[in-house]
Amino acid sequence: MHACLEDLLSLRDGDSPPRELVEHVSACGPCTQRLGELCLARARLRALPRVAPTRDLWDSIAPRPAPARRGLQWAGAGLAAAASVALFLVWSRLPVESSVDVRERDPRAAQSALAPTRDIQQLQAVSQHLGRLERSMPRRRAIVSAREESALETLELAIASVDGQLAGVDPAALDPAVEDLWRQRVELMDALVQVRFAQGAPAVR
């Protein structure tokens, strides 16, 4: 009967094993070999190289002086963000509900109800409002998690991508593809405002 792994590990780690165990292992080829493998595995684990993070996080860790009138700024930003999100939610929910209602009332109207119901100017206005709000918010609090930073980068890249596509279309065009781009922009801006707002809020643990 060979020694079990737990016993061999305790032998490897010098945890005062029973004398019978020591005698068995020293006389048993397979157990001695396994003990050697366990020692080797530990040595190889310890020899694994140290790894450096792929990006420098010091800027997000370094302590910052508290800005003056911070409380007032946050109160304003918080209210504005809440208002913005509420505005967006009201705006974004209505067309979906009305489309369903219309389809239920008259299936023949489904096609027209599914077509864009809000004009591009309205989307542009919401987008601009969110943009102003986002620019007015503090950039970061003292502690910004790596995931938040990554989320911000992703959102900003996505917004830049949509802006790039919008730059290539006729500003007066009213086709659904353009409206869809503006809709995407509003959704992305809304998400950005929410992340910025979350940054400003006290961290929840």
Binding site: C4, A41, L45, P53, W58
Partner: protein, 200 residues
């Protein structure tokens, strides 16, 4: 220990306690890789390891003034980092709809099929210890790293995980059993794939 044995100049710690930004940054850079490596080995996810690195140093810098013994600084940083890792481990399981209890009970749950791993690894022409470490269940991997590399005792690991000493021992044995199995499978495969000379 992966870099936590490195001490720092007491004067640097004194300046860091006073809030000297350069000293704080120097402390961060001294232990940055050690904390990140610990987190990466335990969590096996770069994003989560970066979070641990960040949260660890935010806490360390905030509470540095309360540290009484300069010599204990590396050990303190390591224990903060380990706690952050275990919190990540718990939250990761919760996010996936499991509790850490499930992870403890499941044992081998989440392990890839060793045969698939073997052939997958052969296809990538890279089977090494890091791959096997990644293939371990999160709790076993954490115990293995904390015990075999960082030098925590089973009693300490049991306490950190709110479990018993014997739980830590069985998780360590489980981790090694898996590594030995994967190493054996890889060796078999290598042997089978070794070109045989056609001439005697």
């Amino acid at each position: 220990m992966a870099g936590f044995s490195q001490g720092v100049d007491p004067d640097l710690i004194r300046r860091a306690r006073r809030g000297d930004r350069a000293a704080l940054e120097s402390l961060y850079r001294t232990y940055r890789d050690a904390v990140y490596t610990l987190a990466l080995r335990i969590l096996d996810q770069r994003g989560a390891a970066e979070d641990v690195l960040q949260e660890t140093f935010v806490e360390v810098l905030q509470k540095l003034s309360s540290l009484r013994d300069d010599v204990s600084l590396p050990g303190w940083i390591r224990s903060v980092a380990v706690n952050k890792c275990l919190m990540q481990l718990r939250s990761a399981w919760r996010r996936n709809g499991h509790s850490l209890e499930d992870a403890f009970a499941a044992g081998d749950d989440g392990l890839p099929d060793p045969v698939a791993l073997r052939f997958g690894a052969r296809a990538e022409a890279r089977v090494d210890l890091e791959t096997w470490l990644s293939a371990l269940p999160p709790v076993s991997r954490a115990v293995l790293w904390l015990h075999d590399v960082e030098g925590f005792t089973h009693a300490e690991i049991g306490a950190l995980m709110e479990r018993t000493e014997s739980f830590s021992k069985s998780q360590l044995a489980r981790a090694h059993a898996r590594i030995l199995m994967l190493a054996g499978a890889a060796a078999d495969e290598e042997e089978r794939c070794t070109p045989v000379s056609k001439t005697c």
